[in-house]
């Protein structure tokens, strides 16, 4: 043995041994028996070795990096809790954005962890399997660190106490839940197109940036620090998203129409899901970052536009109905907040009418729509509230079969007419909010006939009976008068004032 041989492997060998060399060619089982989900979607993979690993990371290094990030992150969490960091937020209304995040977004991280763990098992190529394995662990880490980031606030504010339970039951949380379950029940290639590409690559900046910058602008140190800690992971996830789409498209020309259909579907689904982010930015952040319309322009119209230009050479065109999102950007945040305001008795957070100053900001950001359509509605409701008749809508809304959002969004070419489409499938009528959602149904009706629509479930008697107070209190576990209702005069507002006086 040569005594000079180094015991350490160089980077290149180490990478090869710790990634690609972990796989082997099966000799006594057939490939299709080992990877039974690889073919049914119609995607043709000719050569898995063409997969470029976007992460260039081995598991031992991965642990080292992540452990270092955790140490820094938890040091900040400790400092925030020791110094009563909750008192540094701009305004107690801000915490409602945190409540929305923990109930609507954190459970998606957990579902992403499960999703990548599943699909990572299904690919014939070792590069794709390892990338999915690492992303799966990332997503679990994000779930955990988000819970820890927000657990401090949970000691002082309502609405966060039962977030996994609420995610499975509460009417508006069926929107993110059904979105992700749609992806998780798809084949492995559609899952990656949906989550890695359409969501992580095309739309993630519209989810992450508003919440993390919103936290920074509003004195929420825990969420900002979590955001920094997740940033390098997110960068890897975006790289995977782009790699997967290019890899599939390069493997076989028959893949192009399949991928195009998925891009059409998942851009539309993602856009509808992000309505809640729009409302958060325009209505829930006391200190605003930018308007939803500005964010959509910057991150979808400009960045997304350049991306789809780049994909043109594969025969990919921009997603169907993208032009409707450009019209919708001036309406959707207002319409969404209006929904939550009037169903504010069934939300795990407080709702309110924007202040006069906030309304002026909205007028400035939305010169074509806010003063004409939305200011009069909020002013009417403010008048009612001043007379002690704060408006709560005690009826149940009609929901879209696909996105499960109330039909509260107007026609692209008529902003005073509710957008509604329907279809009859095997003698049963189905309703939709848009052409985009109806298209998704038409492509896979056998899947969407089973949608668990919260309103219909209540009316079938599956949510604890006909008494809405019981549905909200017992079935959803939203504590009446604590977690929900109007912010003005709420226990949350009252406690905040007491704490501030005590300092």
């Amino acid at each position: 043995m040569n005594a000079k041989t180094s015991k350490r492997l160089n980077m290149k060998d180490r990478y090869r041994i710790m990634t690609r060399d972990l796989a082997w060619e099966p000799s006594y089982q057939r490939h299709e028996d080992i990877f039974p989900q690889e073919d049914f979607e119609g995607i043709k993979i000719v050569d898995w070795s063409q997969w470029e690993d976007p992460f260039r990371l081995t598991m031992d290094n991965y642990w080292k990096f992540q452990a270092e990030k955790e140490r820094k992150l938890y040091a900040i969490f400790d400092a925030v809790s020791q110094n009563n960091g909750q008192m540094n937020v701009s305004d107690p209304r801000y915490l409602n954005a945190v409540k929305l995040f923990i109930t609507a977004v954190t459970p998606l991280e957990y579902n992403a962890y499960k999703g990548y763990a599943r699909v990572g098992r299904q690919f014939g190529g070792v590069g794709a399997r390892i990338a999915c394995q690492m992303q799966s662990i990332d997503e679990l880490r994000h779930t955990q660190t988000q819970i820890h980031a927000m657990s401090h606030y949970n000691k002082y504010f309502g609405g966060m106490h039962d977030f996994p339970h609420m995610f499975d039951r509460v009417w508006y949380l069926s929107v993110p839940k059904s979105f992700f379950e749609d992806a998780s029940t798809a084949g492995p290639f559609e899952f990656l197109t949906a989550i890695s590409f359409s969501f992580e690559y095309v739309l993630t900046n519209l989810l992450f940036l508003p919440f993390m910058s919103g936290a920074a602008y509003n004195g929420d140190m825990n969420t900002v620090t979590f955001g920094f800690s997740a940033q390098s992971d997110e960068a890897r996830h975006m790289t995977l998203g782009l790699e997967i789409i290019k890899f599939i498209l390069e493997q076989h020309e028959d893949n192009v129409p399949i991928v195009q259909k998925w891009l059409d579907k998942w851009l539309w689904r993602g856009y509808r899901l992000l309505s809640i982010v729009g409302m958060m930015m325009d209505y829930m952040l006391p200190n605003k970052v930018m308007s939803w319309a500005e964010a959509w322009e910057m991150y979808y119209e400009e960045a997304g536009g350049a991306l789809f230009k780049e994909l043109e050479r594969y025969g990919i065109r921009p997603p169907k109905f993208a032009e409707q999102t450009v019209i919708g950007k001036n309406h959707v945040s207002h319409q969404t907040w209006f929904v939550f305001y009037q169903y504010g008795h069934a939300t795990a957070f407080n709702t309110w009418i924007p202040t006069a100053k906030e309304m002026d900001w909205l007028s400035e950001k939305y010169p074509d729509t806010f003063d004409r359509l939305y200011r009069p509605r909020f002013e009417l409701l403010a008048e009612k509230a001043a007379k002690g008749e704060r408006f709560y809508n005690n009826t149940l809304p009609q929901l879209c079969q696909i996105c499960q959002i109330p039909l509260a969004i107007t026609e692209p070419d008529d902003d005073t007419m509710i957008s509604h489409r329907d279809t009859v499938h095997e003698g049963e009528r189905y309703h939709f909010c848009s052409d985009g959602c109806r298209d998704i149904f038409h492509n896979e009706p056998e899947k969407y006939v089973q949608a668990w629509l919260p309103v219909h479930q209540i009316l079938q008697g599956n949510c604890g009976g006909a008494d809405m107070e019981k549905v909200i209190g017992d079935y959803y576990r939203i504590e009446m008068g604590e977690d929900n209702l109007e912010f003005e005069g709420s226990p949350e507002q009252r406690r905040w004032k007491q704490w501030k006086q005590a300092v």
Partner: protein, 121 residues
């Protein structure tokens, strides 16, 4: 309409909202056109044998009461659409005999109520 591409043949999810699941009642949706104080069309549970006039007085009118124009709302002058078609209800007939079946959408159209119409409240 196309068909789902599943990893086994003849995939069919359960039809979760068939009328049998509503214990003798059916769903009726009502959209009051260009009146957006109620942010979305309303979903009601109704007996299919209920007369149209009872549906109006017992279900729809109380539900719309919080709207500032509800007092001026006269159903006998309203125009209706049912599932995308113009519709002339027979007040005494039942919902089902009027053709209003499970998951039908009724539209109430009252163009003369215009005080708040610019903002479509």
């Amino acid at each position: 309409m196309m068909s789902v591409n599943a990893n086994y043949p003849n995939y069919q999810g359960p039809v979760r909202d068939r009328v049998e699941n509503f214990h003798g009642s059916q769903l009726v949706y009502v959209l009051w056109e260009r009146h957006l104080l109620f942010c979305a069309p309303l979903t009601f549970l109704a007996d299919p044998e209920m007369s149209f006039v009872d549906f109006l007085s017992e279900i729809l009118r109380p539900a719309l009461a919080p709207h500032p124009e509800s007092e001026q709302l006269r159903f006998d002058e309203a125009k209706w659409r049912l599932d995308g078609e113009d519709f002339q209800p027979d007040l005494e007939k039942s919902l089902i005999d009027n053709g209003i079946d499970h998951k039908s959408q009724l539209r109430l159209i009252t163009p003369w109520l215009s005080d708040l119409a610019d903002a479509a409240i």
